[in-house]
Amino acid sequence: MEDPLALVFLTAAATLRVATPLILCAMGGLFSERSGIIDVGLEGKMLMAAFFSAAIAAVTHSAWWGVAAGIAAAEVMALLHGLACITYRGNQVVSGVALNILASGLTIVWGNAWFHRGGQTPALEGQGERLLPLFFPRAGDSILVYLALLAVPITWWVIARTRFGLRLRAVGEMPLAVDTAGISVSWLRYRAVLLCGLLAGLAGSYIAIAQNAGFTRDMTAGQGFIALAAVIFGKWRPFPALGACLMFGLLDAVAIRLQGVRVAGIEVPVQLIQALPYLLTVFLLAGFIGRAIAPRAIGQPYEKEH
């Protein structure tokens, strides 16, 4: 029998490890969605960031160059999304879907052409090429874990307390009012989308060079969508979204431990626990658990009158 205290510590650490990319990504999604830009492309941004961070870290032998490359890759995707949704007023969901599909193909095509390992990047060696735990080797507390936790109050402060945040919220609810006040709707939304790219880039880098030691195909495995679910679950507010990420992380952490455990004579299928974040979000959206109300202008391109 394991020491219960150690069990609690390890479960908490596992929860935090799994939740870190979700938190970073969710905060990014929050900026984008509060400005009125739907982001179903979080998954693609993260995947692209994961690939480039691992590839550059392997080539330069430097984790930090890897992180920088990851952020840059996600920002390129974010700019494409902005170009399609803000400048050319295209359909935001279509753009997000396109970026996801593009990322899942490009990472493998480039990875294969570059490293000839069937889409994988070379395995990263410990110190230098990866971001290693800072204080507790068994807990996997790399610097990005702390950064993720820090990102939540910062996001809250920016959105709730700064002039930029006020305008950001206004542009997501009623862009016409912001435009009338002489503030550029496009520039505000571009900044929101770029912030989203920055955070999604950090999330992808974490997955490839802190949580794992290199890139493998489709390694984000739906986490971008879970982060999106967390944004909705948190009703587009930072701290409730953090709560949702931690809950989804905990579910994932216990799923492994619950394998084969019987509850009231019935074995709980691991797949049910894995599907719970999605199911819970569907229930929430359907109004069975409270009500989730999206920013009013979300998904609508803003057309300036001439």
């Binding site: 969901v93 879907v97 396109a98 889409g119 797949q271």
Partner: protein, 355 residues
Amino acid sequence: MRARRPLPAWAEIVLLPLVNIALAFITVGIIVRIIGVDPLHALELLVVGAFGSPESIGYTLYYATNFIFTGLAVSVAFHGGLFNIGGEGQAYIGGLGCGLAVLALDRYLPIWLMIPVGIAAAALFGAAWAAVPAWLQAWRGSHIVITTIMFNFVAAALMVYLMVNVLIAPGSMTPQSRNFEPSAFMPAMGGNALNLSLALALLCCVGVWVFLWHTPWGYALRTMGHNPEAAIYAGTDLRRMTMLGMCLSGALAGLVGVNELMGVHHRIVLDFPAGYGFAGIAVSLMGRNHPLGIVLAAVLFGALQQGGAELSFDIPNITREMVVVIQGLVILFSGALVHLPRPWLQGLFALRRSS
């Protein structure tokens, strides 16, 4: 700035989409160039790989069959103003329905009865999986885009559970069901994967065309897509139309299961939708949401799939995922960036008028 005149109708319908697709393929060419392959040489190998022999044409059309089903599925919903991203999950569950019907009945029914039952079961299960998000949007106000995305993941989890714990053939090491009896084999057309599902797909095209443009329900669905308020004014029940549009969409996506399971695998396997559901978005955008356009786009994507597979044998630097890149770029340029070339074309037409 002087307001630009709108484009003439033919340019809007023909020229603009062609420019969009050309932009997507120029980008593909640049990417191929970046990974060190001559794009024209790759194109030549691809065309030969897709159409060079009766066998390769068979595979091209077999892939095209799946693209027709999912392309139609996306477009039917789209005509009603509904964006169904759940084709992947609906195809998966449609296959489950098809497989369950076959596993239950293939020892008792003759082939001429088994196949219609399998097709009906696939359509029914696909429709049911789409009906839940439709119901949630119509009656509970939750957005169909998010719910259908979530339902893709739920479908994948459900299938893994069923395959590993319930449907796995006794003694099998991999999660797959027992083999179907020959009474559930979709008759082959030619030697390889191509089967009668292609005829079913073409029949669906005609059906969708008749439904959308020659029935009162299709008219109501399109009205809802163009202008929901006008539809209400005309006495349309938007909730029922949402249900109808999504159920039809899901049923069409579910038919992928017929082509894959009754046509080729002859058992239930994991992951057979393999991205066809998402690719349906590209097919429908490229085909401008019209059945004829969808058939053409589906054959193109089928050729890319088959030719791309052959290409990856000849040029190791190119992998099969190149097709996925092309799908993404087509969705980007013909969907999200559809307005990108419009100012250029307007400028060109303005030049022509002034000269």
